[in-house]
Symmetry: none
Subunit: 330 residues, 2 copies
C-alpha cells in the first residue's frame, strides 16, 4: 500500500488557493480530503504557499484551522477614483527610465493591482494604463532599485550606511552617513544624509552610490537645517560651489529671468527690487558657466559680470565669435 501516485502539484496549489479564498476557515482534514491527499501533504502544500508569500494562518487547538488572512475577500482594496488614477499615472511615470529596469515591474504591478480593484474602477485603470506612456530620459544615469531600497531600509532602522561614492571628479571614496531623505528631481535621485566623516550634511547622487551596506551602529535622526527635504535639495543644488563661480546682476526681476530661460540653471537668483536681480552661478566646467552667462545675457537686459579671468576671458572670446560668425542670411 505504499503507492505514491503523484498528483499534479501546481494545479493542486491553485485549487488550494481558491479553496482558501472561498471560505473563511478550513480544517486541515477537510482541505486534505478535498484535494485528495494526505494531511501531511496538505501541510507541505500550505508551507509551499507560505514560501510564495501567501499569508496562510494556522490556528492550533480544538477550534483551529487554516485561513488566508489578507486575501482579497476581506478588503478588496477600496481605492477611490482619484487614488486609482494616481496609481495608474504613478506606475506609468515610474517607467521613465530614471530607475533601472523598473519598466517591467511597474507594468506587472499595474496588471496585478487591476485584479484586486473594485469592479467599477477596473476599466478606468485599464484605460489609463493602456493610453499613457512615459518618454524615457535618455541622458540621465539610472539608479539600481536595490540601492534606493537599501537606503530606505537603513533610514527606517536608523542604521548608519556605508557606501562607495564616485564624486564629480570621478574619484571613488568610502562614505559613512546617516541617511535622512531620498529626493527625486527631474529624473535623478538624491540622498540627503549627514556625513559622519565630514560632520556635515551632504547630498549624494544615488546613481553614483555603489555597494550600499547597512552598518551595525545606529544613530539618532538629526534635524535638517531646512525642514522640507525637497526645498533643502533645491537650495543646495542652486547654492553649491563648484570649480568655477560667477556673479551677475541683471536689470530684470528674478521671476522674469527664471521664466525667460529655456531651462533651469544651477544658481541662486535673488531679487534686488528696482535694480533687478543678483545671480550666482557655479559649475565644474568653465564652458557651463559661460553657457549660463550667455543664456542670461541673451535675455536682452543690461547686466554686469563678476567672474574669474578663466570665465570672463571665455565670455569675451565668445562675444567676438558671436559678433562675426560665418553667417549666411536666409
Amino acid at each position: 500500500m505504499t503507492e505514491t501516485p503523484r498528483k499534479d502539484l501546481p494545479g493542486r496549489l491553485l485549487r488550494l488557493l481558491s479553496l482558501l479564498q472561498s471560505r473563511r476557515e478550513w480544517s486541515g482534514a477537510e482541505l486534505a480530503e478535498r484535494l485528495g491527499v494526505t494531511d501531511r501533504t496538505l501541510r507541505r502544500d500550505v508551507s509551499r504557499l507560505r514560501a510564495l508569500d501567501y499569508p496562510v494562518e494556522g490556528v492550533t487547538g480544538t477550534a483551529g484551522g487554516y485561513r488566508l488572512v489578507s486575501g482579497r475577500n476581506l478588503p478588496p482594496l477600496l481605492l477611490d477614483d482619484d487614488e486609482a488614477i494616481a496609481v495608474a499615472l504613478g506606475l506609468v511615470t515610474a517607467a521613465d527610465g530614471s530607475v533601472a529596469g523598473i519598466e517591467d515591474s511597474s507594468a506587472r504591478a499595474l496588471a496585478k493591482l487591476e485584479q484586486v480593484l473594485p469592479a467599477r474602477l477596473r476599466p478606468r485603470l485599464a484605460a489609463l494604463s493602456d493610453a499613457a506612456v512615459a518618454v524615457r530620459h535618455g541622458d540621465v544615469p539610472r539608479v539600481a532599485p536595490d540601492v534606493l531600497a537599501v537606503i530606505a531600509a537603513c533610514r527606517r532602522d536608523r542604521r548608519l550606511l556605508s557606501f562607495d561614492y564616485r564624486n564629480r571628479a570621478d574619484e571613488a571614496g568610502a562614505r559613512r552617513v546617516e541617511p535622512h531623505h531620498l529626493v527625486t528631481l527631474r529624473g535623478r535621485w538624491y540622498l540627503i544624509a549627514w556625513d559622519t566623516g565630514r560632520a556635515d550634511w551632504r547630498t549624494f547622487r544615488a546613481d553614483r552610490i555603489e555597494h550600499p551596506t547597512p552598518a551595525h551602529a545606529r544613530f539618532e535622526p538629526r534635524e535638517l537645517p531646512v525642514p522640507d527635504p525637497a526645498a533643502y535639495l533645491t537650495r543646495v543644488l542652486a547654492g553649491a560651489s563648484y570649480r568655477y563661480t560667477a556673479r551677475m546682476t541683471v536689470r530684470l526681476p528674478a521671476g522674469a529671468v527664471r521664466a525667460g530661460l529655456f531651462a533651469a540653471i544651477r544658481g541662486e537668483i535673488e531679487d534686488r527690487g528696482a535694480e533687478g536681480c543678483a545671480i550666482r552661478l557655479s559649475a565644474d566646467s568653465a564652458h557651463l558657466v559661460v553657457q549660463y552667462i550667455a543664456a542670461i545675457a541673451a535675455l536682452g537686459a543690461a547686466f554686469t559680470l563678476d567672474a574669474p579671468p578663466e570665465i570672463s576671458d571665455r565670455v569675451r572670446e565668445l562675444g567676438r565669435r558671436l559678433t562675426r560668425p560665418p553667417t549666411s542670411f536666409s
Copy 2:
C-alpha cells in the same frame, strides 16, 4: 552539461501568469529568458497552464507569440520585491506636481496598498514611501486628473473627443480628435491625436485642454507614422517649427553637443561625421533661439549660423555686449 537543476515549478507558473497578464504579447524566447528556463520548458509550462484551463493563445510565424486572451479567473497574484519598489517609487514621483492635486491621493493609495502586500514586503514599501520625496515642478502647469481620465476613457471606447484648446498664441478653439496616446515628458502631459478638423496628426498639451467631452461618434484607430508614441512625441517636439527657426553647423559630434549643453534644447541635432553636426533650432521667441545659439557657441567649437535677420542681428548685438561687459574681475 546535462545539469537539470530543478527550479520551483508552482512559483514559476505564477510568475508566468503574471508576465502574460502584464503585457499584450510575449515571444517564447522572452518568456523563457525571464523565467530562467529553456524554451522547451517554457512550452511545457504553457501547456501546463492550458491544462489548468488558462486560455493561453499561441501564434506561430515571425510575428508570433503568446498571449492570455481573457484573464478573468486568475489566482490572486502577489506583488514581488521589484513590483513593490515600483509601486512606492511610482506613487512618490507621481506627486511631483505635474498632475493637479494628486499628492494626497497617491499618499492615501500608498497607505491602502500596503495592506494587500505580503507581510515580508510591507516594511520595504513603508520605508521607501517614508524616505522618498519628490521635488515639485514649480514651473510646469498642472493637468487636472479628470482631463487625463476622460481622454483615456475616450480612447478605450474609440469615441471622438471634443475639447477647447488654447494654443501657443493663447487663442482658444474647439477641437474634435481621435485620441491615440497620452505621453508624459519632463512633468508635462501631451495628447497625441488625429485632428479630424485638420485631417492630420496633432499633439496637444494636456494642461491647455479644457472641457474634454466624449462625442457620440466612434472611430477606427489609425496607425501613428512612428509606431512608438514616445519616440513620435520627441520627434515632433524637436522638429516642430515655431515662429523663429535657425540652423547651425558645429564642429563637434552630435553626442558631444547634447552632453555639453546644460539642458536639452528644442531642436534636431544630426550627426554629419567628420564635419561635426547640423542643428535646427526653433522657438516662438527670438530670445529663446538666441539663447540656444549662445549656449551652443559657448561650447567653444567652430560654428556657422544660418538664421533670419531678427535672430542674427540679436546674436551680433549679444556678441557686442559680451565683448565689453561692465566687468569687475575678482
